[in-house]
Amino acid sequence: MPINYYLFLSLALFSIGMVGVLTRRNAIIIFMCIELMLNAVNLLLVAFSKMHHLKNLATSATAGADGQLFVFFIMVVAAAEVSVGLAIIVMMYRNIHSVDIQFLNRLKH
């Protein structure tokens, strides 16, 4: 497949995640949109790694494996991030009984 298709698919997914972050007020949904944006980047990294592999197939058999390992590390970091982030959201819900980010404007004052 042409790499352009993967590029535009990833851009579209990333933009949808961005729209979700900007239009929703539920903290959990915003968090999920961030996960969607991470996944769009992952897809693009895999596509580029396969492109690199095809290009350098003659010189090195494992060209492009770095890209896929980066995706693996992104998933590792995302898993850690989700556990801490959800703990923070649960704590926020316990304190103000809502997950509405509208109430999180205390840094403004």
């Binding site: 790499i3 949808i16 961005m18 729209v19 539920n26 959990i28 494992t62 590792v76």
Partner: protein, 173 residues
């Protein structure tokens, strides 16, 4: 007949549609389910690119562990359509407009890039297999791999500390 383009378009439409439904559905539980659909479509793309290890990890970690965690928290808080806070219509419109502008700018910047003629290798190549990735991971990337274990340990401790029941004294201060 080459069936790969059809699979590609089907998975792409599925991913985009699920993502749109995730953003627009009012009920948070439906949002989670649509996001799982998106993750499965992305895993399908990984399989199409012969990145089998990442496809399996994506399903296990994202669609399995992370989304179950989200679903668990949403059900714990008993969020549903009635309690869902809504932004007013203008803010939503402006947010969608800003996201559309971002997409427009990125596409306009990248549509004439030099990689136009490049191809992503579909259905071949061995770098996505667990043998090659494991060798790389445990030779050249062994230090980041060990550091990620430290990251997990700190995340575990952090989640436990944050999620602990606070005493009333710290709440008042």
């Amino acid at each position: 007949m080459n069936v790969t383009p059809y699979i590609f378009w089907f998975l792409s439409v599925l991913a985009l549609f699920s993502a749109l439904m995730m953003v627009t559905s009012r009920n948070p539980v439906y949002s989670v389910l649509w996001l799982i659909g998106t993750f499965f479509a992305i895993s399908g793309h990984y399989i199409l690119l012969n990145a089998q290890f990442l496809a399996v990890v994506n399903i296990i970690v994202y669609a399995g562990a992370i989304m179950v965690l989200f679903l668990f928290v949403i059900m714990l808080m008993n969020l549903n359509r009635e309690t869902e806070p809504q932004k007013n219509r203008w803010l939503k419109f402006i947010g969608a407009l800003a996201g559309g502008c971002l997409l427009l700018v990125l596409v306009a910047a990248l549509k004439d890039a030099e990689l136009k003629s490049q191809q992503a290798m579909v259905g071949g190549g061995s770098i996505g297999l667990i043998k090659v990735l494991g060798k790389e991971l445990f030779t050249r990337y062994v230090v980041p791999f060990e550091i990620s274990s430290l990251l997990f340990l700190s995340a575990m401790i952090g989640a436990a500390v944050i999620g602990k029941k606070e005493t009333s004294q710290t709440l008042n201060s």
